[in-house]
């Protein structure tokens, strides 16, 4: 057996360090690295990106506290990962598709979902999964890695229908790279050479299992080679690098030159600062100071420092941004907390047309509510 037998082994293990030279634009302090190309974004776009990362950070803090107050159910925090989420969605065009997991709240928001729609499922209301017609986002995928073959299929279908101006971007975690669906999805993507970009948010942990227990390969990006895709390793806490790499991958997916292959696997090297979800206690399996090293590379701080040095952001604007994101979250929360859902919704959208048998089941439930009142439905199982 491996050194894993030693209870403290993975706490001190190397692979949670940024060791393998991922692509970066900014250093830890937000200075542009020598030879790095700053992506072609206007000052307004850079400020907007910063504001969205700030909103994501604030959303996360608020959601964790709402969960503690019992106002929302289990929540999957993203602090540390907001830079990658926001930047990858900035790289998308409206017509591109996003396949998120349960953790891509910010990526979904940037690609067109409202804050209300993010909060509703957390309040147990399925209506939040409904996607507006003009937004190309799939509802969250909770079963791990299942979205990869589907994203591949969507990309393929669009290609078959001659839609050459759109691509598919699919998120997943490092744990997902262990599932069969990861390998099947990437293999198909390579074989059919589809316009898809696969982003592995390598946050070093799949609940309690460290990345080095997930795969014996040195990097996740290198797995691309096995499937004939391009693999890129990026500093996931550097929003400018994430934007640039994703933008290039999407451009290549839509319009490869020469013998370039369309699909790309991006490994975003990052860290989950907090718990896996609000139901998880990371102190059982990792040292708290492990997060500290990663916080030095924080995406929000780095972008703030860069924008300040460039004269694009000052303290007054930063304070305005803070107020604005707070107000936005307050509004969304107030709206969603006022929403009541109806038990009849259970029976909706199972099929396009409700089968007779389901209609009967619905009517039985309605009769039971009439007879006993809604209180009878929370008695026993509490």
């Amino acid at each position: 057996m491996s050194a894993y037998d030693d209870a403290d082994q993975h706490v001190n293990s190397e692979p949670t360090q940024l060791d393998d030279d991922p692509i970066r634009v900014l250093d830890e302090d937000g200075n542009v690295l020598p030879n790095a190309a700053v992506p072609d974004l206007s000052d307004e776009e850079l400020l907007a990106m910063y504001e969205d990362i700030a909103l994501a950070r604030r959303f996360d803090q608020r959601a964790i506290s709402l969960q503690r107050q019992g106002r929302i159910a289990t929540y999957a925090p993203m602090t540390g990962q907001e830079g990658a989420q926001v930047a990858t969605s900035y790289a998308l065009d409206d017509q591109d598709w996003l396949f998120p997991t349960y953790r891509e709240h910010a990526a979904k928001y940037v690609h067109g979902m409202s804050l209300e729609s993010l909060l509703k499922p957390l309040r147990g209301i399925r209506e939040g999964y409904a996607i507006p017609d003009d937004v190309n986002v799939m509802p969250e995928y909770i079963p791990i890695a299942t979205q990869l073959p589907q994203a591949m299929g969507m990309a393929w279908g669009q290609q078959l229908q001659g839609q050459t101006d759109s691509a598919v971007l699919c998120h997943f975690g490092d744990g997902a790279t262990s599932e069969g669906d990861f390998h099947e999805g990437l293999n198909f993507a390579g074989v059919f050479d589809v316009p898809a970009v696969f982003v592995c948010n390598n946050n070093q942990w799949a609940i309690s299992v460290p990345r080095d227990r997930q795969t014996a390969s040195e990097t996740i990006a290198q797995k691309a080679a096995a499937y004939g895709l391009e693999g890129v390793r990026v500093d996931g806490l550097d929003p400018l690098a994430m934007y640039a790499v994703t933008r290039d991958a999407l451009a290549k997916a839509k319009n490869p030159t020469g013998d370039e292959r369309r699909p790309t696997l991006i490994e975003a090297v990052q860290y989950r600062y907090g718990a896996h979800t609000t139901a998880d206690d990371p102190s059982v399996y990792r040292e708290e100071d492990e997060a500290d090293a990663w916080r030095q590379k924080d995406p929000l701080d780095r972008l703030r420092n860069y924008l300040s040095a460039e004269g694009i952001l000052d303290e007054a604007v930063d304070a305005e941004i803070d107020d604005r994101v707070d107000a936005q979250i307050d509004d969304a929360l107030a709206t969603v907390e006022a929403v009541e859902t109806d038990p009849e919704r259970i029976f909706e959208h199972v099929y396009e047309e409700m089968p007779e048998r389901l209609r009967e089941q619905r009517d039985e439930l309605l009769a039971l509510r009439d007879k006993y009142g809604d209180d009878a439905f929370s008695e026993v199982l509490e």
């Binding site: 057996m1 491996s2 894993y4 037998d5 209870a7 159910a73 289990t74 349960y102 499922p121 309040r123 147990g124 209301i125 399925r126 969250e140 909770i142 079963p143 791990i144 744990g175 997902a176 262990s178 599932e179 069969g180 669906d181 799949a206 609940i207 309690s208 299992v209 227990r213 997930q214 795969t215 139901a279 998880d280 059982v284 399996y285 859902t341 038990p343 919704r345 259970i346 029976f347 199972v350 089968p355 048998r357 389901l358 089941q361 619905r362 439930l365 039971l368 509510r369 007879k371 006993y372 009878a376 439905f377 929370s378 008695e379 026993v380 199982l381």
Partner: protein, 338 residues
């Protein structure tokens, strides 16, 4: 060590919850038999997301309490190979709703290895999975799809509803020469305590339990629905003077036909309660079994009180989806009124 995992040479009892009893069962068998091992996602250092394997990693080490990569097909396929090699693996699926990637390994191989090899090879393994609703979990975390596994010949399917059954049935499952899918009603994991015998004992996989005796009507149920069924039985006894027998099936495959039929020949009326969707649920199998064996005793149509033929809703509506005591009462009254 917690009381749940204390070495238990002496006889006596411990007051345990179901999740503690599962852990005690694992501890007991791992202590007694070096071939017993536990594998799955987060079962080691983390002690399982429900803490069902807590402290086992520290006690037995990383060779016997193994955090695997995140891959259910890999976990169950590996467990089959381990069992073929002479180990007794107990694999954890983190939630039943995430067992589907392993479905192929379970139904195509674990279930058939014995018949395919004409009795040469067997796979004595257990696949544990928390299942069912009522804990305000996200999508896919509240599924109750025992029928998938019951439909596969060669698998045994078990679902305890009490702490002492959880331990005794788990030990019997680990000792069983066939693959067992062990479904743990997570709503009950910490719902109540019970005195559980220390040390080794088995609850046979062949016997249903009569939780309440009665003469007017039989309620057949299992897992988390046992509790609202018992409450409903008490309510109709008090309010209507109806004497209900409650049968907890405990093992869903193979079914204890004798206990099912004996109870029905006594009462002549039945209500079957499960939280899984109605269509194709195990309730249909129970109803048909009754009719095959005891049609002449039947006094009324058999009632089924079940979840709906719709996906389990997110938590705001799950209490409307799960059968509640009032719902069960109605079913009992209908069966009696006919």
């Amino acid at each position: 060590m917690s009381s749940a995992t204390r070495a238990t040479a002496e006889s006596g009892t411990d007051s345990l919850t179901i999740v503690e009893a599962v852990r005690d069962g694992l501890y007991t068998e791992m202590s007694a038999d070096e071939s017993v091992m536990v594998l799955g996602e987060d079962v080691g250092k983390n002690g399982g997301v429900f803490r069902a394997t807590e402290a086992l990693y520290e006690e037995f080490g990383g060779d016997r309490v193994v955090d695997t990569p995140l891959a259910e097909s890999g976990i169950v396929g590996t467990a089959i190979g381990l069992a073929l090699s002479g180990m007794r693996p107990v694999a954890e699926m983190q939630f039943m709703g995430f067992s589907y990637p392993a479905f192929d390994q379970l139904v195509s191989h674990a279930a058939r290895m014995r018949s395919r090899s004409h009795g040469q090879y067997s796979v004595p393994m257990v696949v544990r999975a928390p299942y069912g609703g009522g804990i305000r979990a996200p999508e896919h975390h509240s599924e109750s799809k025992e029928a998938f596994f019951v439909h596969e010949p060669g698998l045994k399917v078990v679902s305890p509803s009490t702490p002492s059954d959880a331990k005794g049935l788990l030990i019997a499952s680990i000792r069983d020469p066939d693959p067992v899918v062990f479904l743990e009603p997570k709503l009950l994991y910490r719902a109540f305590r019970e005195d559980v015998p220390t040390g080794r004992y088995e609850v046979p996989l062949s016997d249903a339990a009569i939780r309440r005796t009665g003469t007017d009507v039989t309620v057949y149920t299992w897992g988390a629905m046992t509790r609202p069924s018992l409450i409903a039985a008490d309510n109709v006894a008090e309010e209507h003077g109806i004497d209900v027998e409650v049968v907890d099936l405990r093992t869903l495959s193979p079914l204890d036909v004798e206990t099912i039929v004996d109870s029905f020949t006594k009462t002549g009326r039945a209500a079957i309660v499960h939280e899984a969707p109605k269509t194709g649920g195990v309730g249909a199998e129970v109803a048909t079994t009754i009719q095959e064996h005891a049609l002449c005793y039947q006094e009324a149509p058999i009632e089924r009180i079940t979840g709906f033929d719709a996906p389990m809703p997110l938590h705001a509506l799950e209490d409307y989806y799960l059968p509640q005591a009032v719902h069960i009462q109605e079913g009992i009254l209908e069966a009696v009124a006919f």
